[in-house]
């Protein structure tokens, strides 16, 4: 079946994917949706919308903070899906929801898949759902033409990398370092070695995420990967801005710089 993600991936011609992450509902739902439009104007190819959870155990302080603010603003899966639906009237950029498993369980897994598809969501990343536990959900995603993107880590064995390659729909998400989101590390030779290994083992495209904080690291990481995900760095910009319109401007500036830095 055709999908926005597949269309994007088949027409890349050497272009590297810029994938910003925004926490849905932070600083508020409207602003987070406006950020999607701004990202698209800056040359982002896809966006990740974070679905807040009270206990985000794979996330560092920035995304913990934005998740908490969004939850204090009464954000919910239902509101996020409604937001995506509204957004689809003005944008066709591929949208991936990234969130922990329990809010999906609470929403109802079957109903969630149907509603997500009808709202215009293209795919899912569930950081606390490794391939072994994904089966029932995986089939439901497939039925609803939603991509399930799985993560590989520097600690994944060769066998697991191959399994993840098989199950991950369309592309694979490579965690750059062992750690939580937002560490902002400088990537060196170790990362090169790891990414070269991934390039050899993966038949699908892969994007790099966790700790990508600057145009320089984005450039470095796209040497071997097919794109970068930037999350915590953006949340930090929004958090440090004086007000919402200032936040939009600063994010626009940052994403334009990153776009220019990568092919």
């Amino acid at each position: 079946m055709d999908s926005r993600i597949r269309k994007l991936l088949t027409n890349l011609n050497g272009r590297k994917l810029l994938i910003p992450f925004f926490t849905a509902g932070y600083p508020d739902l409207d602003t987070s949706l406006k950020l999607v439009n701004i990202a698209e104007q800056c040359g982002a190819d896809m966006v990740e919308l974070g679905v807040p959870f009270s206990d985000p155990l794979a996330d560092g302080v920035e995304i913990q903070y934005s998740s908490k603010c969004a939850l204090d603003n009464q954000i919910s899966v239902r509101k996020i899906l409604e937001g995506v639906k509204a957004l689809r009237k003005r944008s066709q950029i591929p949208i991936i929801l990234m969130g922990y498993y329990n809010p999906l369980i609470a929403y109802g897994e079957t109903k969630f898949m149907k509603d997500a598809h009808h709202s215009g969501v293209d795919g899912l990343i569930i950081p606390d759902l490794p391939i072994e536990e994904a089966h029932p959900l995986y089939d439901k995603a497939k039925e609803n033409n939603l991509s399930m993107i799985f993560l590989v880590s520097p600690t994944s064995s060769k066998e697991r990398i191959e399994l993840i390659n098989r199950y991950s729909t369309d592309f694979v998400y490579a965690i750059t370092v062992t750690g939580v989101t937002g560490t902002g590390k400088v990537f060196g030779r170790k990362t090169d070695v790891y990414f070269k290994k991934l390039k050899k083992l993966l038949s699908r495209p892969f994007v790099a995420g966790f700790g990508v904080a600057s145009p320089e690291s984005a450039k470095r990481l796209t040497k071997y990967s097919d794109g970068v995900v930037i999350g915590s760095a953006i949340i930090k910009i929004i958090r440090n801005a004086q007000n919402k319109s200032e936040a939009l401007k600063q994010v626009e500036k940052f994403l334009s710089t990153v776009r220019k830095a990568i092919p």
Partner: protein, 405 residues
């Protein structure tokens, strides 16, 4: 038939770490390899005679096992009900059952060649037991503890520091055990290669619920022997408090296939089951995923974890071990609950009658028999797992008396 018997011959958990529907490994990809490594290592070493002897040696000479099975004579006469025995885990080194498990896990860490230990703690009992074994075996030790728990369990914090552990306050979320656990998991994701995470209860991703149960099952094995020696048969019932559920699984495990023995798990009803302020995950929760396992859990309609409440920091957790969820569904273990007030009353009563100050956690099990003694016959022998001592709870009781006394 609704009982644990249908699973008598099946392995618990199965290869995928499932207790029926529950358990599994809902964790970030980064730590999967460490769980695989631990699972493989544990399954090999648990049959190794040298390892078993080493574990038993420390349980005997360092922890002080076997712990006595004490006939609570005055408590029994007060109840005018069944004969009550206390399994005295409070007499263990560091004052609770927690050390049975930390001895086991530190030995695993040592044999696996790990360099650094991390742990989460609520009441501080597990933190203290971890800091203790780290001192004994010479490991650097980091303990994550919620800021609220840090204040209400101060004596334990000072002890941990004295033992050389670094106690890191956690100020995210509810600032209690659940957030300390999330923070410990974040540390583990970051330092997974050389760090061993000593989980304190039968919770978390596979193989932890199994490993912690196995190390704690010494409580039940001893109890069984002591009962048989004392009165020549098994007890009619066993009662234990359930937060994550490690002392309960520890004492129940040896009896789950003995159908005549009734098993009761007691949760914290806090200010009452019909309020928002309780920690009764099994009684009031639904299956969900937190901290790596699918199990009963307290969350709202949007799937967000509800902040639990219990006067006892060790029971103040929104989830419960997956094996308890399994035994809840098949009916082998009966789960009940008691309120803060009932627990405090039991705490005081047993202190007065027996000269034993029980932990507020264990006081929940004591309160249950006070409430339910009529369900038992006068000739019944009932064993209560006195999982820990209550010295650490004195500041809480003082505060309670100021408010309600």
């Amino acid at each position: 038939m609704k009982s644990g018997m249908e699973n008598k011959d099946k392995k618990r958990p199965n290869k995928k770490g499932r207790f029926g529907l529950y358990g599994g490994r809902y964790v970030p990809e980064t730590v999967i390899y460490a769980l695989d490594e631990l699972d493989k290592f544990y399954n090999k070493i648990k049959k190794d005679k040298k390892f078993i002897a080493e574990f038993n040696y420390y349980l005997k000479d360092y922890v002080g096992r076997p712990s006595p099975l004490y006939y609570a004579e005055r408590f029994t006469s007060y109840l005018k009900g069944p004969r009550i025995y206390f399994k005295r885990e409070d007499l263990n080194h560091t004052g609770a059952h927690k050390i049975n498990n930390t001895i086991g896990q530190i030995l695993l860490a040592k044999h696996m060649g790990k360099k650094r230990i991390i742990a989460e703690t609520g009441a501080g009992q597990h933190g203290l037991a971890t800091a203790t074994v780290c001192a004994r075996f010479g490991f650097p030790c980091v303990i994550y503890m919620g800021e609220i728990d840090l204040v209400r369990q101060k004596p334990n914090v000072e002890k941990m520091r004295l033992l050389g552990a670094q106690v890191i306050p956690v100020n995210s979320g509810s600032k209690t055990l659940k957030d300390a656990t999330s923070q410990a998991l974040r540390d583990w994701v970051t330092n997974v290669k050389d760090t061993f995470y000593i989980i304190g209860s039968v919770v978390g991703p596979h193989p932890y619920p199994m490993i912690v149960r196995d190390f704690q099952s010494v409580i039940g094995k001893e109890t069984k022997k002591q009962c048989l020696k004392r009165w020549g048969k098994l007890p009619e019932a066993i009662i234990a408090c359930v937060g994550g559920g490690s002392n309960a699984m520890g004492i129940f495990n040896a009896f789950v296939n003995d159908e005549t023995v009734k098993l009761y798990g007691v949760e914290a009803a806090g200010l009452g089951l019909n309020t928002k302020f309780h920690a009764a995950s099994i009684t009031k929760g639904k299956p969900g995923v937190l901290h790596g396992a699918y199990s009963y859990l307290i969350y709202d309609k949007d799937g967000q974890i509800i902040l639990p409440h219990s006067i006892s920091a060790g029971l103040d957790y929104p989830g419960v071990g997956p094996e308890h969820s399994f035994f809840k569904d098949n009916g082998r273990i009966i789960y009940g609950s008691v309120t803060d007030k009932e627990a405090v009353n039991a705490f005081k009563l047993v202190s007065h009658l027996e000269g034993i100050i029980p932990a507020l956690e264990s006081s929940h099990a004591l309160a249950y028999i006070i409430k339910k003694e009529r369900q038992f016959k006068p000739n019944d022998n009932v064993v209560i797992c006195l999982s820990g001592r209550g010295d650490k709870d004195m500041p809480i009781i003082e505060k309670w008396d100021q408010e309600y006394g």
